[in-house]
Protein backbone atom coordinates (compact mmCIF):
# COMPACT_ATOMS: atom_id res chain seq x y z
CA UNK A 1 0.00 0.00 0.00
CA UNK A 2 2.73 2.39 1.00
CA UNK A 3 4.62 1.38 -2.10
CA UNK A 4 1.59 2.14 -4.31
CA UNK A 5 1.10 5.56 -2.73
CA UNK A 6 4.74 6.45 -3.20
CA UNK A 7 4.61 5.41 -6.88
CA UNK A 8 1.51 7.53 -7.44
CA UNK A 9 3.10 10.40 -5.56
CA UNK A 10 6.23 10.10 -7.66
CA UNK A 11 4.21 9.95 -10.89
CA UNK A 12 2.18 13.02 -9.94
CA UNK A 13 5.34 14.98 -9.08
CA UNK A 14 6.96 14.04 -12.40
CA UNK A 15 3.82 14.90 -14.38
CA UNK A 16 3.50 18.25 -12.62
CA UNK A 17 7.13 19.08 -13.22
CA UNK A 18 6.78 18.11 -16.87
CA UNK A 19 3.65 20.24 -17.30
CA UNK A 20 5.34 23.18 -15.60
CA UNK A 21 8.37 22.76 -17.82
CA UNK A 22 6.21 22.53 -20.98
CA UNK A 23 4.31 25.66 -19.98
CA UNK A 24 7.60 27.40 -19.31
CA UNK A 25 8.94 26.40 -22.72
CA UNK A 26 5.76 27.62 -24.44
CA UNK A 27 5.84 30.90 -22.55
CA UNK A 28 9.50 31.42 -23.43
CA UNK A 29 8.89 30.59 -27.07
CA UNK A 30 8.36 33.70 -29.17
CA UNK A 31 10.17 35.89 -26.67
CA UNK A 32 12.98 37.71 -28.44
CA UNK A 33 16.54 37.71 -27.19
CA UNK A 34 17.83 41.11 -26.13
CA UNK A 35 21.49 40.79 -26.92
CA UNK A 36 23.09 37.63 -28.07
CA UNK A 37 26.55 36.69 -26.93
CA UNK A 38 26.75 34.20 -29.76
CA UNK A 39 28.69 35.13 -32.84
CA UNK A 40 27.06 32.49 -34.97
CA UNK A 41 24.23 30.00 -34.60
CA UNK A 42 24.05 26.59 -36.19
CA UNK A 43 21.14 26.65 -38.59
CA UNK A 44 18.95 23.91 -39.99
CA UNK A 45 17.18 24.72 -43.24
CA UNK A 46 14.26 22.47 -44.15
CA UNK A 47 13.75 22.48 -47.90
CA UNK A 48 10.56 21.57 -49.68
CA UNK A 49 10.02 21.00 -53.34
CA UNK A 50 9.91 23.40 -56.27
CA UNK A 51 8.44 26.74 -55.26
CA UNK A 52 9.19 26.22 -51.54
CA UNK A 53 12.90 25.85 -52.19
CA UNK A 54 13.01 28.89 -54.46
CA UNK A 55 11.46 31.01 -51.69
CA UNK A 56 13.88 29.66 -49.08
CA UNK A 57 16.90 30.36 -51.29
CA UNK A 58 15.59 33.91 -51.81
CA UNK A 59 15.45 34.37 -48.04
CA UNK A 60 18.89 32.84 -47.42
CA UNK A 61 20.45 35.07 -50.03
CA UNK A 62 19.72 38.16 -47.93
CA UNK A 63 20.72 36.63 -44.57
CA UNK A 64 24.16 37.07 -43.01
CA UNK A 65 26.06 33.91 -43.83
CA UNK A 66 28.57 34.36 -41.01
CA UNK A 67 25.81 34.61 -38.37
CA UNK A 68 23.85 31.61 -39.53
CA UNK A 69 26.61 29.04 -39.66
CA UNK A 70 27.25 26.18 -39.92
CA UNK A 71 24.26 25.46 -42.13
CA UNK A 72 22.52 22.12 -42.50
CA UNK A 73 20.13 21.54 -45.37
CA UNK A 74 17.48 18.84 -45.14
CA UNK A 75 15.24 17.70 -47.96
CA UNK A 76 13.02 14.69 -48.56
CA UNK A 77 14.90 11.64 -49.84
CA UNK A 78 12.74 11.57 -52.96
CA UNK A 79 13.46 15.20 -53.78
CA UNK A 80 16.74 15.48 -55.68
CA UNK A 81 16.25 18.96 -57.05
CA UNK A 82 16.10 20.90 -53.78
CA UNK A 83 19.47 19.82 -52.39
CA UNK A 84 20.98 20.39 -55.82
CA UNK A 85 19.67 23.96 -55.76
CA UNK A 86 21.06 24.44 -52.24
CA UNK A 87 24.42 23.12 -53.48
CA UNK A 88 24.45 25.65 -56.29
CA UNK A 89 23.47 28.40 -53.84
CA UNK A 90 26.26 27.51 -51.40
CA UNK A 91 28.79 27.34 -54.24
CA UNK A 92 27.98 30.86 -55.34
CA UNK A 93 28.55 31.94 -51.72
CA UNK A 94 31.92 30.23 -51.54
CA UNK A 95 33.23 32.50 -54.26
CA UNK A 96 32.28 35.64 -52.39
CA UNK A 97 32.73 34.85 -48.71
CA UNK A 98 35.21 32.04 -48.49
CA UNK A 99 36.97 33.56 -45.49
CA UNK A 100 33.95 34.16 -43.27
CA UNK A 101 32.62 31.87 -40.59
CA UNK A 102 32.96 28.17 -39.96
CA UNK A 103 32.35 26.47 -43.24
CA UNK A 104 31.06 22.97 -42.76
CA UNK A 105 27.78 23.11 -44.63
CA UNK A 106 26.05 19.76 -44.81
CA UNK A 107 23.35 18.43 -47.09
CA UNK A 108 21.11 15.73 -45.64
CA UNK A 109 18.17 13.70 -46.84
CA UNK A 110 15.26 12.62 -44.70
CA UNK A 111 12.60 9.94 -45.17
CA UNK A 112 9.17 11.29 -45.83
CA UNK A 113 6.29 10.12 -43.67
CA UNK A 114 3.96 9.87 -46.63
CA UNK A 115 4.53 10.04 -50.33
CA UNK A 116 1.86 11.55 -52.55
CA UNK A 117 -0.69 8.83 -53.25
CA UNK A 118 0.54 6.40 -50.60
CA UNK A 119 -2.17 4.49 -48.75
CA UNK A 120 -2.94 5.44 -45.16
CA UNK A 121 -2.33 1.94 -43.75
CA UNK A 122 1.24 1.67 -44.97
CA UNK A 123 1.86 5.29 -44.01
CA UNK A 124 1.73 4.37 -40.29
CA UNK A 125 4.93 2.38 -40.68
CA UNK A 126 6.63 4.96 -42.86
CA UNK A 127 5.66 7.73 -40.44
CA UNK A 128 7.36 5.90 -37.57
CA UNK A 129 10.41 5.35 -39.73
CA UNK A 130 10.44 9.02 -40.72
CA UNK A 131 10.16 10.08 -37.07
CA UNK A 132 13.03 7.83 -36.04
CA UNK A 133 15.15 9.18 -38.86
CA UNK A 134 14.28 12.77 -37.95
CA UNK A 135 15.23 12.07 -34.32
CA UNK A 136 18.56 10.58 -35.37
CA UNK A 137 19.34 13.59 -37.57
CA UNK A 138 18.28 16.06 -34.89
CA UNK A 139 20.48 14.37 -32.27
CA UNK A 140 23.39 14.67 -34.67
CA UNK A 141 22.75 18.28 -35.68
CA UNK A 142 21.18 19.87 -32.57
CA UNK A 143 20.54 23.15 -34.43
CA UNK A 144 20.08 26.48 -32.67
CA UNK A 145 17.99 27.96 -35.46
CA UNK A 146 15.45 26.13 -37.62
CA UNK A 147 14.18 27.74 -40.80
CA UNK A 148 11.26 26.17 -42.62
CA UNK A 149 8.63 27.28 -45.09
CA UNK A 150 6.01 24.69 -45.66
CA UNK A 151 6.92 21.14 -46.48
CA UNK A 152 5.45 18.43 -44.24
CA UNK A 153 8.94 17.22 -43.36
CA UNK A 154 9.35 20.20 -41.03
CA UNK A 155 6.65 18.96 -38.61
CA UNK A 156 8.55 15.97 -37.09
CA UNK A 157 11.67 18.11 -36.94
CA UNK A 158 9.92 20.94 -35.11
CA UNK A 159 8.21 18.47 -32.76
CA UNK A 160 11.56 16.94 -31.86
CA UNK A 161 13.04 20.41 -31.39
CA UNK A 162 10.22 21.12 -28.95
CA UNK A 163 10.94 17.92 -27.00
CA UNK A 164 14.63 18.87 -26.89
CA UNK A 165 13.61 22.21 -25.37
CA UNK A 166 11.44 20.54 -22.73
CA UNK A 167 14.17 18.06 -21.83
CA UNK A 168 16.80 20.78 -21.85
CA UNK A 169 18.90 19.12 -24.54
CA UNK A 170 18.98 22.10 -26.85
CA UNK A 171 17.12 25.40 -27.02
CA UNK A 172 16.34 26.21 -30.63
CA UNK A 173 14.53 29.04 -32.36
CA UNK A 174 12.01 28.08 -35.01
CA UNK A 175 11.17 30.49 -37.81
CA UNK A 176 8.42 29.52 -40.14
CA UNK A 177 7.74 31.42 -43.37
CA UNK A 178 4.41 30.44 -44.88
CA UNK A 179 4.62 29.82 -48.61
CA UNK A 180 3.54 32.58 -50.97
CA UNK A 181 1.05 30.09 -52.40
CA UNK A 182 -1.01 30.42 -49.22
CA UNK A 183 -3.23 33.44 -49.62
CA UNK A 184 -6.37 32.66 -47.62
CA UNK A 185 -5.49 29.79 -45.28
CA UNK A 186 -2.36 28.54 -43.57
CA UNK A 187 -0.97 25.20 -44.68
CA UNK A 188 -1.34 22.25 -42.32
CA UNK A 189 2.29 22.64 -41.19
CA UNK A 190 1.80 26.35 -40.60
CA UNK A 191 -1.46 25.83 -38.76
CA UNK A 192 0.06 23.21 -36.43
CA UNK A 193 3.07 25.36 -35.59
CA UNK A 194 0.80 28.37 -35.04
CA UNK A 195 -1.83 26.66 -32.89
CA UNK A 196 0.66 24.68 -30.81
CA UNK A 197 2.85 27.77 -30.46
CA UNK A 198 5.88 25.82 -31.55
CA UNK A 199 7.24 28.42 -33.95
CA UNK A 200 8.96 31.41 -32.39
CA UNK A 201 8.01 33.60 -35.28
CA UNK A 202 5.59 32.83 -38.07
CA UNK A 203 5.72 34.97 -41.19
CA UNK A 204 3.02 35.25 -43.85
CA UNK A 205 3.29 36.86 -47.26
CA UNK A 206 -0.24 38.18 -47.73
CA UNK A 207 -1.94 40.80 -45.52
CA UNK A 208 -5.32 39.04 -45.53
CA UNK A 209 -3.68 35.99 -43.97
CA UNK A 210 -2.18 38.05 -41.15
CA UNK A 211 -5.65 39.35 -40.29
CA UNK A 212 -6.81 35.80 -39.67
CA UNK A 213 -3.78 34.83 -37.63
CA UNK A 214 -2.89 37.91 -35.57
CA UNK A 215 0.25 36.41 -34.01
CA UNK A 216 1.77 36.00 -37.46
CA UNK A 217 3.92 38.71 -39.03
CA UNK A 218 3.13 40.08 -42.46
CA UNK A 219 6.40 40.69 -44.27
CA UNK A 220 5.48 41.22 -47.90
CA UNK A 221 6.28 38.87 -50.71
CA UNK A 222 9.51 36.91 -50.95
CA UNK A 223 9.22 36.15 -54.66
Amino acid sequence: MVEFVSIVFFAVITATLLVVRILYVISQTSKPIRNTSQRHLSTLVVLGSGGHTAEMINLLSVMQKDRFAPRFYIAAATDNMSLQKAHVFEETLDDKTSLQGPDDTQFLQIYRSREVGQSYITSVGTTLLALAHALWLMIKIRPQVILCNGPGTCIPICAIAFIFKVLGIRWSYIFYVESIARVKRLSLSGLLLYKLRMADQLFVQWPQLQKQYPRAHYVGRLM
Binding site: P32, I33, R34, N35, T36, L41, S49, G50, G51, A54, E55, N58, L59, S61, V62, M63, Q64, R67, V145, Y173, F175, V177, S179, I180, A181, R182, V183, K184, R185, S187, D200, Q201, F203, Q205, W206, H217, V219, G220, R221, L222, M223
Partner: protein
Protein backbone atom coordinates in the same frame (compact mmCIF):
# COMPACT_ATOMS: atom_id res chain seq x y z
CA UNK B 1 -3.91 60.81 -105.60
CA UNK B 2 -1.51 61.86 -102.88
CA UNK B 3 -3.28 59.58 -100.47
CA UNK B 4 -2.94 56.69 -102.85
CA UNK B 5 0.79 57.33 -103.15
CA UNK B 6 1.09 57.50 -99.40
CA UNK B 7 -0.72 54.22 -99.04
CA UNK B 8 1.64 52.54 -101.51
CA UNK B 9 4.61 54.01 -99.70
CA UNK B 10 3.40 52.71 -96.37
CA UNK B 11 2.75 49.23 -97.54
CA UNK B 12 6.38 49.20 -98.75
CA UNK B 13 7.67 50.76 -95.54
CA UNK B 14 5.80 48.32 -93.38
CA UNK B 15 6.96 45.24 -95.23
CA UNK B 16 10.64 46.11 -95.65
CA UNK B 17 13.25 45.96 -92.97
CA UNK B 18 15.23 48.20 -90.66
CA UNK B 19 16.90 50.68 -93.07
CA UNK B 20 13.62 52.35 -93.85
CA UNK B 21 12.61 52.73 -90.25
CA UNK B 22 13.92 56.25 -89.60
CA UNK B 23 12.30 57.46 -92.79
CA UNK B 24 9.10 55.76 -91.80
CA UNK B 25 9.13 57.39 -88.39
CA UNK B 26 9.81 60.83 -89.83
CA UNK B 27 6.84 60.34 -92.05
CA UNK B 28 4.65 59.37 -89.16
CA UNK B 29 5.52 62.54 -87.29
CA UNK B 30 4.93 64.52 -90.45
CA UNK B 31 1.57 62.89 -90.89
CA UNK B 32 0.66 63.47 -87.27
CA UNK B 33 1.36 67.16 -87.69
CA UNK B 34 -0.68 67.21 -90.83
CA UNK B 35 -3.45 65.33 -89.12
CA UNK B 36 -3.78 67.97 -86.45
CA UNK B 37 -4.06 70.70 -89.05
CA UNK B 38 -6.17 68.99 -91.64
CA UNK B 39 -9.70 70.18 -92.16
CA UNK B 40 -11.60 67.57 -94.16
CA UNK B 41 -13.17 64.87 -92.06
CA UNK B 42 -12.54 62.24 -94.68
CA UNK B 43 -8.89 63.14 -94.91
CA UNK B 44 -8.59 62.88 -91.19
CA UNK B 45 -10.00 59.39 -91.12
CA UNK B 46 -7.66 58.29 -93.87
CA UNK B 47 -4.65 59.82 -92.21
CA UNK B 48 -5.37 58.37 -88.82
CA UNK B 49 -5.69 54.99 -90.44
CA UNK B 50 -2.25 55.41 -92.00
CA UNK B 51 -0.72 56.69 -88.79
CA UNK B 52 -2.02 53.80 -86.77
CA UNK B 53 -0.90 51.28 -89.38
CA UNK B 54 2.56 52.75 -89.67
CA UNK B 55 2.94 53.06 -85.92
CA UNK B 56 1.98 49.44 -85.53
CA UNK B 57 4.57 48.43 -88.11
CA UNK B 58 7.47 50.30 -86.50
CA UNK B 59 6.44 49.33 -82.99
CA UNK B 60 6.42 45.68 -83.83
CA UNK B 61 9.78 45.91 -85.57
CA UNK B 62 11.44 47.55 -82.61
CA UNK B 63 10.27 44.78 -80.36
CA UNK B 64 12.30 41.92 -81.79
CA UNK B 65 10.81 38.60 -80.67
CA UNK B 66 7.23 39.75 -80.73
CA UNK B 67 7.27 41.01 -84.27
CA UNK B 68 4.04 41.16 -86.13
CA UNK B 69 5.89 40.48 -89.35
CA UNK B 70 8.20 37.83 -88.07
CA UNK B 71 7.05 34.27 -88.57
CA UNK B 72 7.43 32.87 -85.03
CA UNK B 73 5.11 33.60 -82.13
CA UNK B 74 5.43 30.74 -79.69
CA UNK B 75 2.95 29.59 -77.08
CA UNK B 76 4.68 27.53 -74.42
CA UNK B 77 2.61 25.18 -72.27
CA UNK B 78 4.24 23.88 -69.07
CA UNK B 79 2.94 21.49 -66.40
CA UNK B 80 6.16 21.32 -64.34
CA UNK B 81 7.05 18.02 -62.70
CA UNK B 82 3.43 16.96 -62.31
CA UNK B 83 1.06 15.31 -64.73
CA UNK B 84 -1.79 17.48 -65.91
CA UNK B 85 -3.39 15.58 -68.74
CA UNK B 86 -6.58 17.64 -68.77
CA UNK B 87 -4.54 20.75 -69.63
CA UNK B 88 -2.50 19.02 -72.33
CA UNK B 89 -5.66 17.52 -73.79
CA UNK B 90 -7.34 20.93 -73.76
CA UNK B 91 -4.56 22.79 -75.56
CA UNK B 92 -4.53 19.98 -78.11
CA UNK B 93 -8.17 20.61 -79.05
CA UNK B 94 -9.02 22.38 -82.31
CA UNK B 95 -11.03 24.95 -80.39
CA UNK B 96 -8.03 26.19 -78.40
CA UNK B 97 -5.65 25.96 -81.35
CA UNK B 98 -8.04 27.98 -83.49
CA UNK B 99 -8.26 30.70 -80.84
CA UNK B 100 -4.47 30.83 -80.60
CA UNK B 101 -4.12 31.12 -84.38
CA UNK B 102 -6.69 33.89 -84.39
CA UNK B 103 -4.57 35.79 -81.86
CA UNK B 104 -1.60 35.51 -84.21
CA UNK B 105 0.35 32.74 -82.51
CA UNK B 106 2.15 30.34 -84.82
CA UNK B 107 3.86 27.73 -82.65
CA UNK B 108 2.66 25.59 -79.76
CA UNK B 109 5.25 23.83 -77.61
CA UNK B 110 3.99 21.59 -74.84
CA UNK B 111 6.01 20.43 -71.84
CA UNK B 112 3.82 17.53 -70.72
CA UNK B 113 5.68 16.28 -67.64
CA UNK B 114 4.55 12.92 -66.30
CA UNK B 115 1.28 12.99 -68.21
CA UNK B 116 0.17 10.07 -70.33
CA UNK B 117 -1.82 11.95 -72.97
CA UNK B 118 0.32 12.44 -76.08
CA UNK B 119 -0.63 15.51 -78.11
CA UNK B 120 -0.71 15.41 -81.90
CA UNK B 121 2.42 16.78 -83.51
CA UNK B 122 1.93 19.09 -86.44
CA UNK B 123 4.35 20.83 -88.77
CA UNK B 124 1.70 23.38 -89.70
CA UNK B 125 1.80 23.09 -93.50
CA UNK B 126 -1.85 23.96 -93.91
CA UNK B 127 -1.38 27.27 -92.12
CA UNK B 128 -2.37 25.90 -88.73
CA UNK B 129 -0.30 25.98 -85.54
CA UNK B 130 3.02 24.16 -85.45
CA UNK B 131 2.70 21.74 -82.52
CA UNK B 132 5.56 20.03 -80.71
CA UNK B 133 5.94 18.46 -77.26
CA UNK B 134 8.47 17.02 -74.81
CA UNK B 135 8.31 15.59 -71.30
CA UNK B 136 11.05 17.30 -69.30
CA UNK B 137 13.89 19.68 -70.00
CA UNK B 138 16.60 21.25 -67.89
CA UNK B 139 16.28 24.46 -69.90
CA UNK B 140 12.67 25.42 -69.21
CA UNK B 141 13.93 28.98 -68.76
CA UNK B 142 15.03 29.11 -72.41
CA UNK B 143 11.60 28.00 -73.56
CA UNK B 144 9.97 30.62 -71.36
CA UNK B 145 12.25 33.30 -72.77
CA UNK B 146 11.53 32.43 -76.40
CA UNK B 147 7.76 32.28 -75.91
CA UNK B 148 5.30 35.11 -76.54
CA UNK B 149 2.62 33.55 -74.35
CA UNK B 150 2.89 31.01 -71.58
CA UNK B 151 0.14 28.67 -70.43
CA UNK B 152 1.16 27.10 -67.13
CA UNK B 153 -0.05 24.91 -64.29
CA UNK B 154 -0.58 26.75 -61.00
CA UNK B 155 2.75 25.82 -59.35
CA UNK B 156 4.33 28.87 -57.74
CA UNK B 157 7.74 28.07 -59.28
CA UNK B 158 6.51 28.35 -62.87
CA UNK B 159 4.29 31.32 -62.07
CA UNK B 160 7.01 33.49 -60.59
CA UNK B 161 9.65 32.46 -63.11
CA UNK B 162 7.33 33.61 -65.89
CA UNK B 163 6.27 36.81 -64.13
CA UNK B 164 9.91 37.74 -63.55
CA UNK B 165 10.50 37.49 -67.30
CA UNK B 166 7.54 39.81 -67.83
CA UNK B 167 5.78 37.42 -70.20
CA UNK B 168 2.00 37.16 -70.62
CA UNK B 169 0.81 34.20 -68.58
CA UNK B 170 -2.35 32.14 -68.42
CA UNK B 171 -2.48 29.90 -65.35
CA UNK B 172 -4.72 26.86 -65.57
CA UNK B 173 -5.76 25.42 -62.23
CA UNK B 174 -5.68 21.63 -61.90
CA UNK B 175 -9.01 20.65 -60.40
CA UNK B 176 -7.96 17.01 -59.99
CA UNK B 177 -5.52 17.81 -57.19
CA UNK B 178 -6.73 16.68 -53.77
CA UNK B 179 -5.65 19.59 -51.60
CA UNK B 180 -6.32 22.36 -54.02
CA UNK B 181 -4.72 25.39 -52.48
CA UNK B 182 -2.95 26.24 -55.74
CA UNK B 183 -5.91 28.19 -57.09
CA UNK B 184 -5.55 30.71 -54.21
CA UNK B 185 -2.30 32.14 -55.55
CA UNK B 186 -3.39 32.17 -59.20
CA UNK B 187 -6.68 33.86 -58.38
CA UNK B 188 -5.04 36.46 -56.15
CA UNK B 189 -2.48 37.33 -58.84
CA UNK B 190 -5.22 37.37 -61.49
CA UNK B 191 -7.20 39.80 -59.36
CA UNK B 192 -4.14 42.03 -59.28
CA UNK B 193 -4.00 41.71 -63.09
CA UNK B 194 -0.52 40.15 -63.18
CA UNK B 195 -1.81 37.13 -65.08
CA UNK B 196 -4.90 35.42 -66.43
CA UNK B 197 -6.45 32.46 -64.67
CA UNK B 198 -8.74 29.73 -65.91
CA UNK B 199 -9.76 26.07 -65.78
CA UNK B 200 -9.12 23.53 -68.53
CA UNK B 201 -12.69 23.76 -69.79
CA UNK B 202 -12.67 27.58 -69.92
CA UNK B 203 -9.20 27.98 -71.44
CA UNK B 204 -10.46 28.85 -74.92
CA UNK B 205 -12.62 31.62 -73.47
CA UNK B 206 -9.64 33.07 -71.61
CA UNK B 207 -7.65 33.06 -74.85
CA UNK B 208 -10.56 34.58 -76.75
CA UNK B 209 -10.78 37.44 -74.26
CA UNK B 210 -7.01 37.83 -73.97
CA UNK B 211 -6.07 41.50 -73.60
CA UNK B 212 -2.31 41.84 -73.21
CA UNK B 213 -2.56 45.58 -72.53
CA UNK B 214 -4.46 45.00 -69.31
CA UNK B 215 -1.52 43.22 -67.66
CA UNK B 216 0.05 45.00 -64.69
CA UNK B 217 3.80 44.19 -64.54
CA UNK B 218 4.75 42.19 -61.47
CA UNK B 219 7.21 43.77 -59.04
CA UNK B 220 9.51 41.17 -57.52
CA UNK B 221 9.24 40.75 -53.77
CA UNK B 222 11.96 41.34 -51.21
CA UNK B 223 13.08 38.93 -48.49
CA UNK B 224 15.07 41.42 -46.45
CA UNK B 225 12.21 42.36 -44.03
CA UNK B 226 12.08 38.70 -42.91
CA UNK B 227 15.85 38.55 -42.50
CA UNK B 228 15.77 41.80 -40.52
CA UNK B 229 13.05 40.50 -38.16
CA UNK B 230 14.91 37.21 -37.60
CA UNK B 231 18.13 39.08 -36.85
CA UNK B 232 16.39 41.42 -34.43
CA UNK B 233 14.63 38.51 -32.76
CA UNK B 234 17.88 36.65 -32.20
CA UNK B 235 19.50 39.75 -30.74
CA UNK B 236 22.03 40.27 -33.49
CA UNK B 237 23.07 43.90 -33.81
CA UNK B 238 21.38 45.72 -36.67
CA UNK B 239 23.69 46.77 -39.44
Amino acid sequence: MILLLLRVFFSIAASTDLPRRPLCRRLISLLRRQKSSCSGVNNCIYLSFFVSQAAKGTYNKMDGSDSHFESKRIVFVTVGTTSFDSLVRTVDTDQVKKELSKKGYTHLIIQMGRGSYIPNKSSGEDGSLVVDYFTFSSSIADYLRSASLIISHAGSGSIFETLRLGKPLIVVVNEDLMDNHQSELAEELAERKHLFCGRPQTLYQVIEALDLDSIVPYQSGDASPVAKLINRYLGFPAD
